[in-house]
Each structure stands twice: as structure tokens, then as C-alpha cells.
């Protein structure tokens, strides 16, 4: 039984949003790889953060030669003008994931938060799959439960058993991308003094290395093996989020309101180490374009006098397009409520 048939009446519209996001606190998006640094010559017994040296391209070899690891920020490779380039970026999946999690926390009862967590492959042979699926179906059928709305928007493949012919699967209607303007020669900030050297690696964001040294709770001394460092995108940096939602509904606008308000209030954060205040951002500019067919339920709520954005585009004559501010979008949502 597949309860989700979002396009049974075809695609009747799309809501396109663009957010210009500014970091109010540092952001950590991990990549799983390491850079390397050395804080001072091994012979010095005292002092901190002197004669710093950093290595990105040769990190692995340096780490094998007693340099310290720095957990790196997320990056990607691309080909630009026939050249291989590497840039730090804010992965769309991390933004999307945070939005999804926040929606679950605010729209679903805590006891049901994990209902659609797909078990690890190794665990599948040990769990009672029919029972899991039964619970998932019961959750969906409970009118008070809003899992359908979330799964409809974000998608899900809850196909625990390949033998089941009609698995629980949702295509998802939200597509999201992120981008950072490619500007080189941004800085790697670090307190202390650099040894004279060139900092290698991607340099399209202002970033800094943070050092942490947890203290043992009983002795109040540094915990053995606790010293670690990681790269963060510095506060003040900006990135762009662009998304579109196919067949936007009233519930989608409800979620959009939740996201925007809670992001700007600082409750919805992105990336790792939120517990240490990371990931608070502000949406500085956001604009929305709504393209809809005349047969869409939203059509007659919109001001027909507004400029039709679809003029001259592929959608001309098929859909109408409206530029809406966030407030206008929320007014539309209030009308639909």
C-alpha cells in the first residue's frame, strides 16, 4: 500500500524560494576528512599557538609525521574551465536535514519521532519487519499524526523488505540547493602566530580553526586524548539557499512559516555542535515566486493584477507566476487556514 500519490492530478504549481543566509555564529559542516597543523616545534614544552603551520593537500602524510589533525569543513571538487577546483561548501543535505528534523520535532509527538527511521542494513535481519511496517501504517492512519505531511514534502523510502511489492515510499516535493559565491582569497583565522608559509587548500570562505581541550570532571586537569581541533565557517559569512516545492499546499506554507520564524529567532540551527552555540543564522533576504496553473486551489486567492512572471518563459499560457514577499505568502496561508 503506497499512501502517497502527490501527483495524481499532475503538477499544478511550484513555489520557488531564495534565502540569503548570514551566519550569526560559526557553522560546522563536517566532511569526514582531516587537514593537518602543527602548533609549535615538538621541543618546546611551554607556550601555546606559536609558530603555527597548516597543511591541506599533504595532510595525511603530515599527520603520519606527528602533526595534529584538524577536522575539516565540508568541501567539493568541480571542474571549472577545464581545471579541477576544490571549494568549501554548505551541503544542501545538511540544510534539508535540519529542516526535516525541525518539522518532525514540532509537528509529531515525541513518541513517534523515530517511526520512519530506516534501520541499519545490518539490523534488518534481526528485527521484526512486518511489525515495523504495521506500526508505520498505523501511524499514518492516525488522523492526529502529521507524518503524512512531512513525508509528502521531504520524501522517504521506507522499503524495509524488497519482497514487498507495494512499499511505503514517498517521492518528496522539496528540492533544495545551496551555494556560496566563489570568491577566492578568504582568510583562515587562527589566534597565535603563523610560521611564514602559504596556507593551502580551498579558500573561498572566511574560516577559523577552533581548539578544544575538555577537562576531566574529577581532577579538573586536561582529559588525556581530549585535545582536538576543527575548522569552522566564520560568523558573518553568507550562503544562499534555493528551493522549490512542487504542488505547494497549505501545510507546506505552515512549515515554511515555522522554518523562517524559528531560524531567525535562533531556535532552528544548522550543522554540528549546536550545543556549543554553533549554527545560528539569519535569513537576511528571502523572496518567493509562486507558479501555479489556473486549476490550482491557490489560484483564486491570488491578486490577478500582479505582474505575471511566466510571461516570456516556458510557463507562459500554462501557468501564472507571482512574486510574493514572505508576508504576502503568510497572508495567503492565513487565508487558506
Amino acid at each position: 500500500m503506497n499512501p502517497n500519490k502527490p501527483f495524481i492530478n499532475g503538477i499544478q504549481g511550484t513555489l520557488c524560494g531564495t534565502w540569503d543566509v548570514k551566519l550569526m555564529t560559526p557553522l560546522i559542516i563536517r566532511h569526514g576528512s582531516k587537514a593537518a597543523w602543527q602548533t609549535q616545534p615538538a621541543s618546546d614544552k611551554k607556550g601555546r599557538n606559536q609558530a603555527l603551520r597548516f597543511s591541506w593537500f599533504d595532510a595525511q602524510r603530515k599527520i603520519e609525521n606527528d602533526w595534529s589533525e584538524v577536522t575539516d569543513f565540508n568541501y567539493h571538487f568541480s571542474v571549472i574551465e577545464d581545471q579541477l577546483a576544490v571549494h568549501y561548501d554548505v551541503s544542501a543535505s545538511s540544510i534539508r536535514g535540519a529542516l526535516r528534523q525541525w518539522s518532525i520535532k514540532n509537528m509529531i509527538e515525541q513518541k513517534d519521532w523515530n517511526t520512519f527511521d530506516v534501520p541499519k542494513k545490518d539490523d534488518l535481519t534481526q528485527i521484526n519487519i512486518p511489525k515495523y511496517i504495521e506500526k508505520a501504517i498505523a501511524t499514518l492512519e492516525d488522523q492526529r499524526n502529521r507524518w503524512s505531511d512531512i513525508l509528502s514534502l521531504f520524501g522517504c523510502a521506507y522499503d524495509l523488505d524488497p519482497k514487498i511489492s507495494d512499499p511505503l515510499a514517498w517521492l518528496g516535493r522539496l528540492q533544495l540547493n545551496t551555494s556560496i559565491p566563489i570568491k577566492e582569497n578568504k582568510t583562515l583565522d587562527v589566534q597565535g602566530s603563523w610560521a611564514s608559509q602559504t596556507i593551502d587548500g580551498p579558500n573561498n570562505i572566511n574560516r577559523h580553526v577552533t581548539v578544544r581541550n575538555p577537562l576531566d570532571r574529577v581532577s579538573a586537569a586536561a582529559k588525556e586524548g581530549g585535545l582536538h581541533q576543527f575548522m569552522e565557517m566564520s560568523e558573518g559569512e553568507k550562503f544562499k539557499v534555493e528551493f522549490h516545492i512542487l504542488n505547494p499546499s497549505k501545510v507546506d506554507l505552515e512549515m515554511l512559516e515555522l522554518w523562517v520564524n524559528d531560524i531567525n529567532a535562533g531556535y532552528l540551527r544548522f550543522g554540528a555542535l549546536a550545543s556549543q552555540g554553533r549554527g545560528r543564522v539569519e535569513i537576511q533576504n528571502h523572496d518567493y515566486k509562486l507558479f501555479i496553473s489556473p486549476s490550482s486551489p491557490l489560484a483564486h486567492f491570488l491578486d490577478q493584477e500582479k505582474t505575471d512572471l511566466s510571461t516570456g518563459s516556458l510557463f507562459e499560457g500554462i501557468w501564472r507566476g507571482y512574486q510574493l514577499s514572505f508576508n504576502e505568502l503568510m497572508d495567503l496561508y492565513s487565508t487558506l487556514k
Binding site: T25, P26, S43, D44, K45, K46, G47, R48, N49, Q50, K105, Q110, K111, D189, Q191, G192, S193, N206, H208, T210, R212, P214, L215, D216, R217, V218, S219, A220, A221, K223, E224, G225, G226, S234, E235, G236, D262, A265, G266, Y267, R269, A274, S275, Q276, G277, R280
Partner: protein
Amino acid sequence: MSHNLNPFDFVYFSETKPILKTREEWLSYNSLLTGYLELKIKALYPIHIVGEQKAQQVGRNDFKINQSLFNRRLDKPNIPSSTIRGVLRSFLEALCNCWASQLTPLYKKEFKKHTTGFRATGTADEIRKSRETREIDTNLPLSLPERFTPKIDDSGKMDLCSFLFGHVLEEGNANRGRIIIEDAFINPNFLDINSFYLPDIKDSAFMGGPKPSASSWWYQKPFEIRLRRTKFGDSPQFVGSGFWGRKFYYHQNPINCVNFYKDPRKWQTRSDHPVYAFPAETLLPENETEMFRLQFENVPRILLNIILLALFPGDKIKHKMGYGKAYGFGSFEFKYVSNDLRRKTSDEKIAFENDVKALMNSNWDKAKLDKFGVFNFIDQANLGALYRILYFDPSSQLMFTYPPFGNGGFLTSVRKGEVNEILQENENNLLYRNKRLPVTLKRAKEIAEELYKMKKRPALHFEVYKNQSIGYNKIIERKL
């Protein structure tokens, strides 16, 4: 023989087990709140969080610190969120008798550092592995009482601090916390590098360093006396096992303290390791940080009240943070600025603000705190100990300094014969036959007191040294 109090003391581990509940049980206290407090930190004595610390080599193996600058990011001085978080969590773990998180699990035997390797925590598997390497004395029990070792079993139960602050125990065993704390930035005009100095010992550290040892009864409770073979013959070794408790530092005037260390007539040190002082960039007393957030997410109201008590522990209890706590640095208090509650009406927000202020002014008065329901979570003995240690009185002339190296201090050796004089005949027989003599806490104290009278290793036993310190009578007068 007279000496100052030691700079730190312990909140002893309770015999009572921590309160453990599942996540659902903690949440069942209901009235879940999401919101944030806007706070500042006010320095009572100078605060120093180390950033860049310039040092230089001054001889073949000699190193000196020239100056220590305040922690910065993007050239802005700040107190890291992890520091603030650590202060609150340490306080709450003691106050509410919680697990002891972030422990170094084992201290291996190491030449010139740890004569006796020991385990603070550990599973049976880890203990077996360390037996194979012979770096750990497996005759010694775990130093941390097992009831305070963080572990999540099949029941899923966790202590209060793990519920609030989260934990990462091992791969796949993590719980996300509900308290978010941001960095606290500082106006650079409130920092100064010329006003306060920190002491250091050239090419060494006070008391050999802050890490606990099993070779005395200073950090750990008495366990036994051993005879260790050395090139000079058999030498008595006083082996400790079982941490006294959680360490907290006393408040004191930093200028008086540092001047005491600098005066060789007052604090002895080895001639090849003289005391010197280096300038430290500090947040000056009476100055405040900029505003920062403490955010809470779906925290039951009753548990939020406990966080508030930790933030505002009354007129007398004040916190400490950063570098140089032993020398009087780091005393501070939190200042409340404002709050926000998510999805609450203005009336509810006003009511919450009134409660915040009531808690801030409660000063641990049970009658005032009863309506907030917090006393069920507070260990009264631990609260009493925290009160004695973290009691802040700027007019106090009490001094807290480490035992020196030499006579009157912690490294003077004790000869076999001197121990023989103190022990009873059957004890001596046992020691010589087995090379080890188990001791009860009571007997160990008697032995340490005798040695103290003989001026032999006065800093052997933590309690004996403390009880004989100048001003200890004033410490025990501190009562809630």
C-alpha cells in the same frame, strides 16, 4: 609547622546512587519549555582564558612563558561556550549527585610521572587488555566509584546532566542535549595585560602537574603501604585508590596569592626550578562580557529551575573558570539580562521572568524553593561542600597555596625506618612478609598524622594536611 590551605578541595562522592531515568521519564515532568536566557558574565577576580601563550627557550632544557594572551577569534576576545558549559555541568554534576563525565579512563605507569598506573573507569575488557600491557596495577580497584561511571544499559536510563547536556559514550551511544550555550564576547577595552601576573615554575609545574596520582593519599583515598625496591633499598610507597571526590577551587585574592609564591621565604622551591611570574591578559574585575545566549529546548520546567539555581547560586556561592584558578583567577558570576519563551503568551513570559528572579534571590532557602520542586534533585551534603569551597568573600584574607616541593611539602621521602616506628608489630610483619600492607581509612589517617608530626611528607594525606592548615576552622564555619 604552619601552612596555608591547599587551593582546591573535593566534593566527596555520595554513597547514594545518582537518580537515573529514561528520557521519557525525565520528560514526564511536563511543562516543557523552549526558549533562551540572555546573560552576561561579570568578573569578580580577573578571568584569563588562554589564547596565544608566548614562550621561549632560555637554556638547554629551560622554558619560560613570556606572556599569555586572552582567547580570541577573528581578533575578538571571547570566553568559549565550551568553557561556560563545562562550569555549569561540573557544578550540576556535583550538586545533583550525577555521573562524572569526561574522565580520563586510565593513567599508565610512566617513568618519572606515574609510578603506579591505575584505572579511573573501565570495562572488564579494558582491564584485561591493560593487564596484558602491565601498565596498570590491576590490584587497585577503579578510582571512580562505579555508580558514577556514565553508562547507558538496555534500560536506557540516564542521569540528570546527561538528559540536559547530552552525552557521547561510544559509537552509536549518544544522547543529544537540550541546553545550548553560545560564546561570550568581550570588549577589548575591558582586557588588560599589565595588571595581573600568573606564577609558573621554570621548566616544571606546581605539584608536578594537576593530574591525579596513585602514589600518595592526596588525590585518592588510602589503600595500602608497599615496599618498593629502589637502588637505595626498600622504600615505603603510599598507594591510594579511589578518588576523594570532584575537585573545585577556592576563591582568593590573586595578587596576594601570586606575591606569596614569588617570595622564596614563604614558598620554597628547588633552586633549579625557581618561581617566576608572567603577565596574563585578563578580563578585569567588575567588568562584564557582552550578552550571550543560553538556550533550552523542550526542558521540563522543574529541571530548568535547577539550571537557574546553577546560574544564580546565591550571594555567597560563585563560580570559577579558566586558567589560574589555583591562584585566585577566574571568579565570576552570571548576570541576567532577559529571556524569550517560544510560543508563549506575554503573560506566560512575565510569569516566567518573575520566577527567574525569585529563584535568583532564593539563596537556597528551602521555604522559598519548595514551590519550585527542586530539592528532590539536590544532594544536601554536596550542596554543603560546594558552599564551603565556592564561598566568595572579597574581604577574606585566607590564602590557598600548594604544598611546596621540599620540607613541609609533598615530595619529601619517608624512610623505611620512620614508617617502622609508627606501625604496630603485626603491621610491620605483614609489610615485610608481603611487601604490602592494606590500610583502613582510619588507620591511614593515624599513620599520616604521625608522619605529619614528624614533619615527614606532610602533604601525604589530603585530609590531614587540610585539617592542619591555617584558616581551616574558618572553612568549616561556612554553613548554609
